[in-house]
């Protein structure tokens, strides 16, 4: 798989607006961004309301994902082009999520909403109408998702990549600096994890850095052993989906999982080891 199989630029997106085989989807936590203006023909998915179980802390199940995509008018044959705010955090999360349920024809827009806006490209408030489909998902692909017991067992054995900011990694903050500080019971990081903030993989305009720069970032700067399996985590799993995309989709590492429970789960578990301060 090459970069162009998974990542497209804004010119590609513009040239495929209205293409009947391409569904453009904006994915955000802040869906009011979509309501104020979105890429023409784009529909929206709310990463929380649409993709999370409303009661348990988990994803919507296979049936729920099928119902969502059918209702939004996405078919199994469609190519889904995802983009969003926050440097594509939630779009990358949705990309991972679509892959988890077996939708392989999925692309990410390089730079997401930010680059589109900074380029002053067209945005519209028109909401498209799409005909209902009958979407069929696969069972979750367990090779892409790490759960807590697997993470604890991976300490010292696999690459653990903590993609939060250095202040969150060392335990000085519990959340990113644009949010109130709350959530996990304890601060710090999983022992043996390397800290490679997601932002190091992105340019200022939100696009991904070149493959050779990314490879050097993880292998040379952070000392990741590419022959080992890898688990990425952050606070709730969306920034680490961005890094999962880099490692698995752009660099082609075979065994990379996203731990979506991430620090809000791990930092509240009883009895697990936690490290504070710089990586050891």
């Amino acid at each position: 798989m090459s970069r162009s199989d998974v990542l497209v630029d804004a010119d590609w997106a513009e040239s495929h607006i209205g293409d009947p085989g391409v569904v453009i989807v904006e994915v955000d936590e802040d869906t009011s961004a979509y309501d104020k203006g979105h890429i023409p023909t784009a529909i929206k998915i709310d990463w929380k309301k649409d993709l999370q179980d409303p009661v348990r802390r988990d994803f919507v199940d296979k049936t729920g994902f099928e119902a969502l995509l059918s209702e939004r008018g996405i078919s199994n044959e469609d190519t889904v082009l995802l983009y969003g705010g926050n440097n594509n955090w939630f779009a990358a999360y949705a990309y991972w999520y679509f892959k988890l349920y077996g939708h392989d024809k999925v692309l990410l827009l390089d730079g997401g909403r930010k680059k589109w806006e900074l380029d002053s490209r067209e945005l519209t408030t028109d909401v498209p109408e799409r005909s209902r489909t009958s979407y069929t998902a696969t069972e979750q692909n367990a090779s892409l998702r790490a759960l807590r017991d697997e993470v604890v067992a991976a300490i010292g054995k696999r690459n653990l990549v903590d993609v939060r900011s250095p202040d969150e990694f060392t335990g000085r903050l519990l959340a990113p600096a644009h949010l109130p500080q709350e959530q996990a019971q304890r601060a710090g990081h999983i022992p043996t994890a390397r800290n490679v903030p997601w932002s190091k993989a992105a340019n200022e305009d939100g696009t991904f850095r070149a493959d050779d720069e990314l490879s050097s970032l993880y292998a040379d700067d952070a000392g990741l052993d590419f022959s080992r399996d890898t688990i990425a985590y952050c606070r709730i799993g969306e920034r680490s989906a961005h890094t999962w995309f880099v490692l698995h989709e752009l660099l082609g590492l075979p065994n990379v999982k996203n731990y979506d429970g991430s620090w809000t789960e791990y930092g509240s578990l009883v009895g697990v080891p936690i490290e504070l301060g710089e990586a050891r």
């Binding site: 802040d30 926050n86 440097n87 955090w89 806006e117 644009h178």
Partner: protein, 104 residues
């Protein structure tokens, strides 16, 4: 603002008083304007030493932004369409709201 999301607050941030709930948080907030009018399309980035990225928010309808930083010295950088940008140093302190007004 949602409790468990990492994303942007709905509609960007509307900068209103947060006093009384600060605790030991160090808040950096302000507005971005151009020729006196709010800049509502653009991004505010908070950077640490060596240009280390810390956080980014889209500007609100009123050009507003807010960060809950650790105490210390930071660089605030603003990006807007047509290549407009600005940068300035800010100091964040526990229990304080540091106000920053940026003109592009």
């Amino acid at each position: 603002m949602s409790g468990d999301g990492c994303g942007a607050p709905a509609g960007g941030v509307s900068v209103t008083a947060v006093a009384g709930t600060l605790g030991d948080q160090a808040v950096v907030e302000g507005h971005v304007t151009r020729e006196g009018a709010p800049v509502s399309t653009g991004y505010a980035r908070l950077l640490g030493s060596g240009d280390e990225f810390v956080a980014e928010v889209p500007l609100g309808d009123d050009g507003g932004f807010r960060f809950f930083a650790a105490p210390g010295s930071w660089t605030l950088r603003v990006l807007a369409p047509k290549g407009l940008r600005a940068e300035q140093s800010v100091q964040a302190d526990n229990g304080q709201v540091t106000k920053v007004e940026v003109a592009l």
